[in-house]
Amino acid sequence: MSLGLPADLGLAAASAWCFGVIYQCGPRTALAAAGLAAAGWAASDLLAGVPHLAVLPDFAGALVVGGGAEVMAMVRREPVTLMVVPAVIPFVPGYEAYRSMIAFIQNEFVAGLERGLSALLAATAIAMGLGVASALTRALLRRLGRGARPGQA
């Protein structure tokens, strides 16, 4: 049962902010991660209603988070990891992974494998989204002459 898109965006942002604290990011960095998580969730939600897209919503969400984090890192002159890690956690397919575990405990091995594979596919889509976003954004920034500055990787 979803609480509606605005509430979901708020919850995604809140969880990303909390993960920022768990990973010891600064308050402003955690806030930036919260904004990225909400933007990514909105992109993912936009595609989630379209049938037959499988893990594309996860990919889109991670793409927005990854691309946004690269740009923010350049603007704020901070490592990308600081923003991308807390922001991407809400997309991790924890529920699917849990359902897979439960199926195995109940001796429903086929269902367990099916759900496990779903979780693995979603995780792969998120990884691909982050990777593609990083490669594309860096290439674009280099083209615009906004690459790494002294002291910054």
């Binding site: 979803s2 490592p79 991308v84 890690v85 956690i89 109940q106 990777g131 790494a148 002294p150």
Partner: protein, 251 residues
């Protein structure tokens, strides 16, 4: 005590060690080390592997082994700032050494704040995944307990996958109580609790290392993330298996 002749190289290697242990990606560690060495007048070759950093310049080589790793993005942030200061010439080698001696203690938030944040994160995620309001306090408890176990293990300097296994097992306990509470969804309590334990830094840096061509580090990190995921699954499954097989009610 470092050899004065190779002190800049030692400083660069210490910085690399610090970054790698805190969870920075290999490309960043190598780049930061090379920039720092260059700022101190050394044209260094650096190699960073998942468990060691190696820097060589002017016939001298420094090799440092990573003995313990602990994700701490505050260290990555702080060292990034020091790197800028060194390159800009506003931080001397002595000043950098001084900061490096206390760098292991860098923490922005105390353990109790981490636990609170973990509880809130678990509660927010439980709601996000479709939980009812009654699920919220249990999920908060699950996240808080999971992080408390992690902080406890960290404080006694214990680590490895045993931490994640114990934390995952502990995160299930509030869900077992919630299972007999009407109107709650214990499944989402568990999910909220274990999401706190997701090895986010390892997964993200593993992917980024792979994209940067640092395949060895990428494989090592993703393998470590897989071990942690397996430990979490074992912790959760173990407790639930016993609970269900002694007649516990699990919806």
């Amino acid at each position: 005590m470092a050899n004065p002749g190779s002190k800049p190289l030692h400083a660069a290697a210490e910085v690399g060690l610090l970054l790698l242990a805190a969870g920075a990606e290999v490309a960043r560690v190598e780049d930061t080390m090379a920039r720092m060495a260059r700022a101190f007048g050394l044209e260094a070759e650096v190699v960073v592997l998942p468990t060691m950093v190696l820097a060589t310049a002017g016939g001298q080589t420094v090799l440092k082994r990573v003995r313990s790793r602990r994700t701490n993005l505050a260290v990555v942030e702080r060292v990034n700032q020091w790197s800028r200061e060194v390159v800009a010439g506003t931080l001397s080698l002595e000043g950098l050494w001084e900061r490096l001696t206390t760098a292991h203690a860098i923490r922005r938030y105390p353990g109790w704040q981490e636990m609170g944040a973990a509880g809130l994160a678990a509660a927010a995620l439980a709601l996000l995944f479709g939980g009812a309001w009654l699920t919220l306090p249990w999920a908060f408890l699950a996240g808080g307990v999971a992080q408390a176990v992690r902080v406890g293990f960290r404080n006694v300097r214990a680590g490895g996958v045993a931490t994640d296994l114990a934390a995952a097992a502990a995160a299930v306990l509030p869900a077992l109580v919630a299972a007999s509470w009407p109107g709650t969804r214990p499944a989402l309590v568990v999910v909220g609790g274990i999401m706190v334990l997701v090895p986010g830094v390892l997964l993200t840096t593993g992917v980024r290392d792979g994209m940067a061509g640092d395949l060895l580090s990428s494989l090592a990190r993703l393998l470590e993330a897989a071990f942690i995921a397996a430990a979490i699954a074992a912790g959760v499954s173990g407790v639930l298996y016993v609970y269900v097989h002694v007649g516990g009610r699990w919806p």
